[in-house]
């Protein structure tokens, strides 16, 4: 979870840095569907329970993409950091999930 040179934190301030300028809310999202192979594997895994690795990876990738889009937006405002980042996951439809990331774009020294 690292954007090049952009600092991201989920706290109101970045420890050890001072916020100079506020650029407002930035966000990024993506909607992903599970592909059928993963779904079948998950169905088999359901027999014994436990981790569904395919889904874990899928959601990690999706969250990464949502973050990237958020960072892109932050860069376009001239920010070099995003603070107070929050995530939201919602099942928008059968077999699909939305990953949403948002935060406040700032310039830190």
């Amino acid at each position: 979870m690292r954007g090049d040179a952009m600092v991201i934190s989920n706290t109101e301030e970045i420890p050890g840095r001072r916020i100079r300028e506020l650029h407002g809310l930035v966000s990024g999202s993506t909607v992903r569907a599970k592909h059928i192979g993963r779904d079948i594997m998950a169905g088999l895994k359901n027999l014994v329970g436990g981790e569904l690795k395919g889904y874990t990876e899928l959601l990690q990738e999706a969250r990464q993409e949502a973050l990237e889009r958020m960072l892109e937006q932050a860069r376009s405002t001239g920010a070099n950091a995003v603070v107070n980042v929050r995530f939201q996951t919602s099942s928008v439809a059968q077999g699909a999930a939305e990953l949403f990331a948002y935060g406040t774009a700032v310039t830190v020294e």
Binding site: V7, I8, P15, G43, G50, G95
Partner: protein
Amino acid sequence: MDGPETFGSFNWLRLLLPFGLLAMGFFIGKAIENAHLRSLHRREIHWRRIPVSTLDAPPEGWRVTRAGLVDGSVVVSIDHWKRLLAGLRAIFGGRIRAYESLLERARREALLRMQENAHQRGFHGVVGTRLETARLATASRDGNGTAGVEILAFGTGVERAR
């Protein structure tokens, strides 16, 4: 083309299959759960050196030189045997231990992964930690199953000046 008698000879299999799958789920599920608990215990001791806090401020006396977002996540599902027990439990109400155990293990796993992520990226601690739970709907035809539950742990990793 299958005649009715060909199909009939497999009736015993079709009758036993659900029970076989339930038994398999029970025994393998139990073994996996125990192995996971042992692994969690071992790694929790190991990762104590990366302190995790839900406060925004780093621990007293830490001079922070670098910070960045860290996370860990896991998607878990429950086996059919436990799902059946949970369904029975829902008739009478009360605690569903099977789900409690699953979610507890998933949270511990997500936190450990966050600590591992923090360590990989050279951070010495995590502040502002949050835990989120999301239910993933299944794409199956019956439409009422749960594909799994995602637990996400995230926070801000901090590097401490030496």
